[in-house]
């Protein structure tokens, strides 16, 4: 992997003054992705699935090819196991509204971790409100680890659904979804693996995870905004009721009832985002061309510099696993006396983009504040991707070392 060549594919990275370290929020898009979408619009733009003319047939092929490519990317058996959605949040809501409301009942337990993203918390709160199921939380150790023992203790025979991010967007830690899957399957339950933060950084294999559902967002893995995916086991999709309803997801519509199209179309109501899917497919192709080995290697190099650099600074607290290789490119930290928002604002004057705040993980912030005596219920987070360089990492550490000075200490 030649990082200089790769960076040329990302026009927004051309200005060396800027350091973009907010990749866990959204990634940048290479020209290949933009070009694939533009080409769709310029040569075959039509409403897929229904047209009997050339452009619509091409558009349908492009859309279904994108589905097949996405299925292969996550390790699914069959393209029909991929439902295209807007983003990971919608994927998780789809599971909650369709599977959750239909198959969970009073007294069942839903188990999630305290480090879940709000998008993997609120839908389950909704399911619990409406069904009488109970939401339980598993808390990690201080460094973010969840062990098999902790899981065994948390899973009871009432646990019918586990929601677990494969990689935490705050700590970067990889969670033991395989063990969780095993335990919940013994109860005839299912596991919803939220892959929003893992899919960009590591080879996905839903089979190996034992995942019944797997959610992800295109925009976090070089794809466009507005497209994401839900992997779901075919037999689950078959028995789940539809969620959104309208055009394209039906067979017959009578005035008072309807029958539904086959899986996965049953879950894709209305005109599909075909150009978004084409963009996602181009992003997948781009990632596969580089290869996850090379991607991880580069991320580890950069993350190590950031992690160890911050660790060595006085007044800086770095969270999560002591091994920077276990951070999936994410380094979360705080600086004594400095509110994360002020940190991010002054770093912005150095053209360094990081995120600060609760990271859509307020329960985790609360947990960390208590366990780790954090000053504020918020952190600063640098998140790197394979197109980031070691020089950027060094510049970042250098800048962080000056933050306390800029803030008057």
């Amino acid at each position: 992997m030649n990082i200089n060549e790769i960076r040329k594919d990302f026009k927004i990275l051309a200005d060396p003054a800027y350091v973009y370290f907010d990749n866990a929020a959204t990634s940048q898009r290479p020209e290949q992705v933009l070009e694939a979408m533009d080409a769709f619009s310029r040569t075959m733009n039509a409403n897929p699935l229904r047209g009997l003319y050339e452009w619509s047939i091409k558009a349908t092929d492009a859309y279904e090819d994108a589905r097949a490519k996405t299925a292969a990317f996550v390790g699914a058996d069959d393209p029909s196991e991929i439902v295209f959605v807007r983003n990971a949040t919608e994927a998780l809501n789809l599971v909650a509204f369709s599977y959750g409301l239909e198959f969970l009942k009073e007294g069942d337990e839903i188990l999630i971790t305290v480090m879940e993203h709000h998008s993997n918390i609120l839908p389950w709160q909704m399911v619990c409100r409406k069904t009488g199921a109970v939401l339980k939380f598993i808390e990690p150790k201080e460094d973010g680890t969840i062990t098999e023992e902790m899981l065994k203790e948390a899973v009871t025979e009432k646990t019918k659904l586990i929601g677990m991010g494969l990689v935490s967007n705050v700590l970067g830690v990889r969670n033991p979804v395989e063990k969780a899957a095993e335990l919940v399957h013994k109860n005839g339950g299912v596991i919803v693996v939220d892959g929003a933060q893992s899919a960009p950084h590591m080879k996905t294999d839903v089979k190996a995870y034992g995942a019944d559902f797997f959610s992800f967002s295109g925009h976090k893995m070089l794809g466009p905004m507005g497209i994401g995916g839900l992997y779901a086991r075919h037999d689950l999709l078959e028995k789940m009721p539809p969620f959104l309803s309208g055009g394209e997801m039906i067979e017959y519509v009578k005035r008072d009832s309807a029958t539904y199209a086959e899986v996965p179309h049953k879950f894709e109501a209305g005109t599909v985002n075909a150009s978004g899917a084409v963009g996602l497919a181009a992003a997948i192709e781009y990632l596969e061309n580089i290869g996850f080995d090379a991607i991880e290697e580069q991320e580890k190099k950069v993350t190590k510099i950031v992690y160890e650099g911050l660790k060595s600074l006085p007044h800086v607290h770095v969270y999560g696993n002591p091994d920077p290789e276990k951070h999936s490119g994410i380094v979360t930290f705080n600086i004594d006396g400095c509110h994360p928002h002020d940190i991010s604002s002054v770093l912005d004057t150095e053209h360094i983009a990081i995120r600060a705040g609760h990271h859509c993980a307020q329960p985790l912030m609360e947990f960390m504040q208590e366990k780790l005596s954090m000053e504020f219920r918020a952190t600063a987070r640098a998140s790197m991707y394979f197109y980031n360089t070691e020089e950027e990492a060094e510049r970042f550490v250098e800048a962080v070392s000056k933050v306390r000075g800029w803030l008057g200490f």
């Binding site: 509110h339 928002h341 604002s345 912005d348 705040g357 609760h358 918020a378 803030l407 008057g408």
Partner: protein, 147 residues
């Protein structure tokens, strides 16, 4: 003003060495103001004299430097003023960060005028206005959490 200079010249001082942070004795009004998206969280406390002028004031709580400094500067400005004038200052401050009032008016804010450039940082506007909005809710809308 470039943000780093703004911190250096004004914000840091008010944040690290606030004059009005703490509690006052037996306040007439107490109100909590929050910015959920930032986690800023302050308690504003005010006391009035017989003419309805703000006689004492303080704030407590935690938040970013801008929210803290802005609240401290606000109290600098309004202590001693009649309620109506305090509210007028808040109006000017809101107009300033929205970019809808002119230079001359802004000068009436004394030191708080230095936060004018926050108007170009929409994400920080809420931090800068937290204290002011809380004061408006108190004096204009009569909200009071004192039991």
């Amino acid at each position: 003003m470039e943000l780093k200079n703004l911190y250096r010249e004004i914000v840091n001082e008010h944040n690290l060495h606030p004059v009005h942070k703490g509690d006052i004795e037996d306040p007439d009004m107490i109100l909590n103001g929050v910015n959920p998206s930032c986690g800023d969280d302050i308690y504003l406390q005010l006391k009035f004299d017989e003419n309805g002028n703000v006689s004492e004031g303080s704030f407590n709580g935690s938040g970013c430097a801008i929210s803290q400094a802005s609240a401290d500067m606000m109290l600098d400005l309004i202590i001693g003023l009649p309620k109506e004038e305090a509210l007028e200052k808040a109006e000017i401050f809101m107009g300033m960060v929205r970019g809808t009032v002119d230079e001359e008016k802004i000068e009436e804010l004394d030191e708080a005028a230095s936060l004018a450039d926050i108007a170009h940082m929409p994400a920080r506007v809420k931090c800068a206005t937290l204290g002011w909005k809380t004061m408006q809710r108190m004096l204009r809308d009569g909200e009071n959490e004192k039991k």
